[in-house]
Amino acid sequence: MTSAIARRRARLALRYAAATIVTATFVFPIYWLFMTSFKTPEEIFASPPQWYPGSIQFQNFNVLFLDGDAIAVWNSLVTAGISTVIAMFLGTLAAYSLARFKTGGDNLAVWILSQRMMPPIAIVFPVFLLYVWLGWVDSFIGLILLYTAFNLPYVIWMMRGYIGDVPLELEESAQVDGCTRWQVLLKVVFPLVRSGLFATAVFTFVFAWNEFIFALVLTRTEIVTYPVQVTRYFGGQSNFWAKIAAMSVLGTLPIFIAVAMMQRYLVRGISMGAVKG
């Protein structure tokens, strides 16, 4: 009896230890990033390394704002934010059409999704040439359109699944009750797929936020996004670790905030498609 309890306790302790090690492994780089952003140059290069800064100072962030580099975060917010809104709006409507009116039969949805599978590097130069011709290089509209186009298939595919899970009778009942198609969407369908809507929006936003290849090729000086800006601190002679760390923290914060705010919906949205009933 006692030995059984002892064994169970030992197993539990082992499990916690393993979980702690795994968590520490993943959290440490983020911890190090945040700490580095608050360190002075001497502390950053100190040997042996200093686990935390002597005092909290914002000099590294100040420099980013004084040099104007911090605008890159704003640029990312604008491109990722607007392209997410457009992709969610168009994609959800398209998904409704696919789910309810069987637009394009069974194959259109798969065809749309296949667009997402194309490696971006394969089209980045044709797009660049096209944008030169259109005068869209280094412009918000260029990046926003491109991100919208890349995210649409994902939004359509995800939302089609969520909408398909809403019982058709609910929509029919609402129609008989006196709703137009738009009212059915706003009052019945959207509230029921809310979790899926938020989960999809977060993933869409994160994709656009982290996108690198297109931003690297299609921006110069005007709308450099934050991932591209970070790479500019890697020099041939030396790396600006203070700036890299501070910029990365600035770039990570919006995602942290978005995920924290949406966590409730995210978990439900991700599991919604998987488990029915």
Partner: protein
Amino acid sequence: MTDVTLSGIHKRFGAVHAVRGVDLAIPDGEFTVLVGPSGCGKSTLLRIIAGLEEADAGTVAIGGQVVNHLPPRERNVAMVFQNYALYPHMKVYDNIAFGLRARKVAESEIGERVKRAAGMLSIGNLLDRLPRQLSGGQRQRVAIGRAIVRDARLFLFDEPLSNLDAQLRDDMRSEIKRLHRDLSTTMIYVTHDQIEAMTLADRIVLLRDGRIEQMGAPLDLFERPATRFVAGFLGSPAMNFVPARLSADASVVEVDAAMLAVPAGRRASLAGRGASAVVLGLRPEHMRRFADGEQREGVVRLGVTIELIQPTGSRTYATFRLAGVPVVAELQAHDVNRPNERLDLGVDMNRAVLIDPATDRVL
């Protein structure tokens, strides 16, 4: 005045011809039940009336107005669905109020009407709950409440009781009947359950393969079926069908070695056929134990050996063979006590039906 008129309705789903030319006139205030086996087109017909499906041909008129081109919301009908179709994200109150809000009724009036409807259905104490916190019966009440609160001119029910257990189904059936009495709104009710059809309907419309097989008052259909299908569909246990021969002068139906005399009053209409094969249709309740010395016009004596007995308490179902087919008779509880018992039955030939085996029509 809300009469409903369907003329020449056709509906195809791809290769399936679901409704094949239905003409039907439903007078104001009538409780009409569309009944038939699955796939007979009854739900499709209801959905065409609601505007959820479009007829390929024919016209639908509600209250004298052709509504083919109108979307569901402009037809002013209310519908109760099989799976209740309650909005899961709204409380019961908001579910019932939904249709009124969609029609921009003032919030103060909505409160009053929701309370009145909830009172009629005894769900006043559930208004703050979410649908998932309700039992099946309570959900169905809310669904009905959502329909009656709107004062729609026509109520449509699509198998509303089929997800409920037997006891609850009986209760809700009485409730729906009472509701119709109180509201006297025109109601169209779809079911595959013949008991529901018999008990609820002012008029039954029996559908088969997308066509109306027969319509009329419940007892009319039960007692005077036009076809073998109608005769077999209504009644539980179902009517027995036995192969037989009619004599040339139509005086006797010959089954195996037994001769069953046709009542004199029915001979004239049958005489023209000459000697021919017929199917004898006997309802279980039209056979009983023959009492010695009994003399009743049209009741003939038939000796049988009981193969199987099924007591239900108030009645006992006894199965025997006639012309090779099993036949069920509904007897008094103690008329027969064990299998293989010999028994004389009195068969009421006044109520038996004779069917032409070639056309399946009742003679």
